[in-house]
Structure formats: structure tokens, C-alpha cells
């Protein structure tokens, strides 16, 4: 599948934003601290930029409001509806912290739950597609949720070191979720590699009982929407390299840096800088992971295109 920049930005940034908002909703940072107030603002900004970016690939973005109507059947619509609903408790929590330095349990907790639900809806847009076998597994939502949680705790650690909270608990929780996220992703990827294709050129043409089916001529000589959108291919050796880059940047680097910081303890400019680097590395790694999520997934229509 074509790894569209706008969609990768959308899923990675909104994932980070919902993760951070979720952590804030659990009262793990001191609501009166300036750092926590900044964290609220950052979470809302990440979510908003992510959602706006998702509108970037629409053919008619001026009609995007219509996407809230079909929540009964469509995960994309559910995601849209949930993202709007989730803004309500998140804005209340942010207001309470920024204006009054207070934590409100109800909006906080509700916000955290809704963040998780929204990320789940996002992941189900992909996981519900039977036509893309690599995505069609319960492991997909688990990965998305764990990555959002890991990203949230990594970002929350930055603000903890900036004076917002406990500099041991938050980095350690970040490490726990980093390990869980990448371990699950590893399983997800192993499953993808071991897949026996559900559909084949033989089943796609119905000609399997005559013999082996091979594309002789495409219907068109140049690329079309289908081959551009679903025929994206990445060389195996590059994919392996990118996967290792993702794992190191998104998992190993932030975990090691946060572990070192947690061991040393203390707040201040240096720990904040290092924790910020850890967060940036994590985002870059997840960006590559998300790129591969699309680039490596094969769509069943490719059975008609010899790919």
C-alpha cells in the first residue's frame, strides 16, 4: 500500500497526542506545574495537527463534516466522531490545569478512556480491511494502542524532568510500554511474513482449476490509481534495514536514554534535553514503523497485476 505522508503524520502525531493526553488524564503529572500546563497544550496541538493532516489527502475536504454520519458501520466515521467527543474532556482537563492548576478526576479519567477508544478506532480503519491481510488482525489495534501509550509516557517523561512529576515512575512506565509495543510489533511483523496469501491469482480469476495463473498483459501500460495506491512495493533488503532503524530509533534509543535518566534522577535542563532527544528518536522510529506498515502491506488487487 502507498505510504501517504499525510496519513503517516496523522497516525503518528495523533497517537503521540492521545498518548500524552491519556497520561495527563491519569493524574501522573502535577497539574499546577508549568511543565504540565505545557504538556496539555502540546497534547492538544499534536492531536489537532494530526487530524488536520488526515484531511490533507481528501479529494473534497470541504465536505469532511459528512464523515461524522456513518458511525453505525464505518470505523473511519467512528474515528471522526470519537476524536471530536474526546476533545471535550481533554479541553476541560487542559483548562483546569492551565487556568486553575487543578486536576479534575472525572474529565481526566474520561479523557484517558476516550483517547484509547479513539486510537482503537483509528487502528480498526486498517484492521477491518480483509483485502489487506497484513492489517487484518487483532494485533493491529494492540500495536497502535501500545505505541500511543509508549509515546505518551515518553513525552510525559520529558515534562516530568521539566518539573512536572515523578522522574522515576514515568520514565520506567515509558520503558515498560516501549518494550511491550515493540515486542507486539515484532509479533505482528512475524505474522505478516508467515502469511499464506488468502487470495491468489488463481482464486482472483477463478482459473485455478485449469492451471497456474500468471499475468500476461496489464489492462493499461502506464500506472493508474490502483497501481499507485495499492501497488507500492519496497525492496526486501531496504525493508529489513528500515525495520532495524525503526526498532533502534523508536525503541532502543529512548529506552536506554530514559533508563539512564531515571537512574540518575533529578530535574533540570540536561535531563530535559536528553529526554527530548529520546522523544524525538521515538517519534522518528515510529514514523519509519508506520511507513513500513503501509509500504509492506499487500492488497489483494495485486493478484490481478502480477505483484
Amino acid at each position: 500500500m502507498h505510504p501517504a505522508f499525510s496519513i503517516i503524520i496523522f497516525t503518528t502525531l495523533s497517537g503521540l497526542g492521545y498518548g500524552l493526553a491519556g497520561v495527563l488524564g491519569l493524574d501522573l503529572l502535577d497539574p499546577a506545574a508549568t511543565a504540565t500546563k505545557c504538556a496539555h497544550a502540546l497534547a492538544l496541538a499534536l492531536i489537532s495537527v494530526g487530524l488536520l493532516s488526515s484531511a490533507g489527502h481528501l479529494g473534497n475536504p470541504q465536505r469532511a463534516w459528512r464523515a461524522f454520519s456513518q458511525w453505525r458501520s464505518s470505523w473511519l466515521s467512528r474515528e471522526g466522531v470519537m476524536s471530536i467527543i474526546t476533545f471535550v474532556p481533554l479541553l476541560v482537563s487542559a483548562w483546569a490545569s492551565i487556568a486553575e492548576g487543578r486536576y479534575l478526576a472525572l474529565p481526566g479519567f474520561l479523557g484517558a478512556v476516550l483517547c484509547a477508544v479513539t486510537v482503537y478506532c483509528t487502528s480498526m480503519i486498517y484492521a477491518s480491511l480483509k483485502s489487506v491481510q497484513a492489517w487484518h488482525t487483532p494485533l493491529t489495534p494492540v500495536c497502535y494502542l501500545l505505541f500511543a501509550a509508549a509515546g505518551g509516557f515518553v513525552l510525559a517523561s520529558v515534562f516530568a524532568f521539566a518539573g512536572g512529576g515523578n522522574t522515576r515512575v514515568l520514565p520506567l512506565l515509558a520503558i515498560v510500554f516501549l518494550v511491550a509495543a515493540w515486542a507486539t510489533k515484532l509479533r505482528w511483523r512475524k505474522r505478516m511474513k508467515d502469511l499464506v496469501p488468502l487470495s491468489t491469482p488463481e482464486s482472483a480469476t477463478g482459473l485455478g482449476n485449469i492451471g497456474r495463473v500468471r499475468l500476461f498483459e496489464r489492462p493499461h501500460v502506464t500506472e493508474n490509481y490502483l497501481t499507485r495506491e495499492m501497488g507500492f512495493k519496497v525492496a526486501r533488503k531496504h525493508a529489513e534495514k528500515l525495520w532495524r532503524i525503526a526498532l533502534v530509533a523508536g525503541g532502543v534509543v529512548p529506552a536506554v536514554l530514559l533508563l539512564a535518566l531515571a537512574a540518575l534522577g533529578g530535574q533540570g535542563t540536561l535531563p530535559v534535553t536528553i529526554a527530548s532527544l529520546a522523544a524525538l528518536a521515538h517519534w522518528a522510529g515510529v514514523f519509519v514503523e508506520r511507513w513500513l506498515f503501509f509500504a509492506e502491506a499487500r492488497h489483494s488487487v495485486m493478484n490481478y497485476y502480477g505483484g
Partner: protein, 255 residues
């Protein structure tokens, strides 16, 4: 509303495509584009239409496949392999995944006749339905930013301003080999249902669970050249000639 009709539709209008007779001429492809670019919805745009990198939205495409039986050789080497031309358009699936994923209600399946359509005024061009269709039957129109798909020529089949013979899809009317048939596959006594029953019509990718309405008729078993050889007239042999030819044969022998 992008939930599927709750009951099976009373009619299941669709196409039956004969892979035995299709000659791969692409006439249906062109006539489909021609009819639909001026019909339902916005025009079917092309990008860089006269350039080297031309591409555009089409609702029907013909792929060609080579089928090699067990132990067969590749085409051109007089083996058992064969070429099958394979027209592909929307199959108007009963369990259409393209419909349920649509966030706007633009994609829908008509409860009366089962035709799957896109309401272009509602479509935001998100492309999710094209991802959900396992068959690649939907293509985005890049000029209008809306999703395009086969309409089963809804503006022909119910169009009483047309002659009755023309109230079939454009591709069906055009096909010079009569490889495309249109009708109600929900009615077991319709001509298309009988054709499907007689010829062993099949579903594409049944494992995807979409329950396509359109059916494909498999190519008939092929005879090898050697088997057909004895039926070919042999130039030197006049044995068995009757009537005028027997007389002519005798006369010519004599002179």
C-alpha cells in the same frame, strides 16, 4: 446510509462475463468510458491525456492472463497453456465491504436491485472504499476528487427514452463477441441465471466473503491441436465426396 440492506435484495442485477468467448478487444472498456463520461456523475477524467504518462479513471478494465496447466508449457511453444482475457468491473457484491467502510454515506447498495453506487455529492474522496474492495473495482477521479465505479449503467437500464434493445449496460451492448450478459441473478429462471447454472458460473475470490453478484463463466476445455487435426480437410483426399462434388471429382479425374 452505508449499512447494507438488511434483507437480501429482491432483485440482484448484475453481469455474467464469459471468459470463453471474450476476445480481449477492449471494446467494452472504451464504450464504458464513453457512456459514463457523459452520464451519471462527473466526467471520467484523464490526467496528462495526450502525454507520455497518461492515466485516468475507468470503470472496466481487461486484463489478460496466461494459464499453464500442470506440466504444460508456456504459450508460443505449442503447449497446453492458454491465454484468457479477463474483463473486470464492479461485481455489485451482496456483502460489499466498500459500502460499510464509507464514512459519509456516499457509497450505498440499493435495496431494490442491489446496485452499488456512489453519491458523488456526498463523497469526500477519502479512498477507503477502494482499499476495502478486494477486486480493485473502484478508481478515484483525480479531477473531481470523488470515487468512481461501475454504475451498471443505471442511466441506461431503466431509461425509457432508449429503444428496448439499448436498455442494457453499454459494455453488454457493445461486446462484439457477446461475452457480457446482463440480467437479474436473483431470479433463478432468468436467462443469466440459466447460463450460470449451465456453464458453471463462478465467484471471484469467494474467500473474501463479499458474495459477488456478477458471475464469470469459465473457459470451455481446450482441445489440443493434435486432437483437432483429423477434422481438418486434407487437400489430397476426395474420398466420401457426394453429389455434385462426386461428379466433379470423377469428371476432373477423367480429363
Amino acid at each position: 446510509m452505508t449499512s447494507l440492506p438488511s434483507l437480501p435484495t429482491p432483485k440482484k442485477l448484475g453481469l455474467v462475463i464469459d471468459l470463453d468467448t471474450c476476445v480481449g478487444c477492449h471494446a467494452c472498456v472504451v464504450s464504458c468510458k464513453e457512456w459514463n463520461t457523459g452520464g451519471y456523475g462527473s466526467a471520467l477524467s484523464d490526467q496528462d491525456p495526450y502525454g507520455a504518462d497518461v492515466s485516468g479513471a475507468w470503470l472496466n478494465r481487461v486484463h489478460s492472463f496466461e494459464v499453464v496447466p500442470e506440466g504444460g508449457e508456456v504459450v508460443g511453444e505449442a503447449g497446453q497453456a492458454r491465454i484468457v482475457h479477463f474483463p473486470k468491473s464492479c461485481l455489485h457484491c451482496e456483502d460489499a465491504p466498500c459500502v460499510t467502510v464509507c464514512p459519509t454515506g456516499a457509497s450505498y447498495k440499493r435495496s431494490a436491485d442491489g446496485i452499488v453506487l456512489v453519491d458523488e455529492d456526498k463523497c469526500i474522496g477519502c479512498g477507503l472504499c477502494a482499499w476495502a474492495c478486494p477486486y480493485g473495482a473502484r478508481e478515484m477521479d483525480l479531477a473531481a476528487g470523488v470515487m468512481k465505479k461501475c454504475t451498471l449503467c443505471i442511466d441506461r437500464i431503466y431509461n425509457e427514452t432508449l429503444e428496448e434493445v439499448d436498455r442494457v449496460p453499454s459494455c453488454v451492448r457493445t461486446c462484439p463477441a457477446n461475452a457480457r450478459h446482463f440480467g437479474d441473478l436473483g431470479d433463478p429462471n432468468s436467462a443469466v441465471s440459466i447460463l450460470v447454472a449451465e456453464r458453471g458460473g463462478m465467484d471471484l475470490m469467494p474467500e473474501q466473503g463479499t458474495k459477488p453478484v456478477n458471475k464469470y463463466l469459465p473457459p470451455r476445455p481446450r482441445k489440443s491441436l493434435a486432437e483437432s487435426a483429423h477434422t481438418l480437410p486434407l487437400a489430397e483426399n476426395t474420398e466420401g465426396a457426394k453429389g455434385f462434388f462426386a461428379w466433379l471429382d470423377g469428371m476432373l479425374d477423367r480429363i
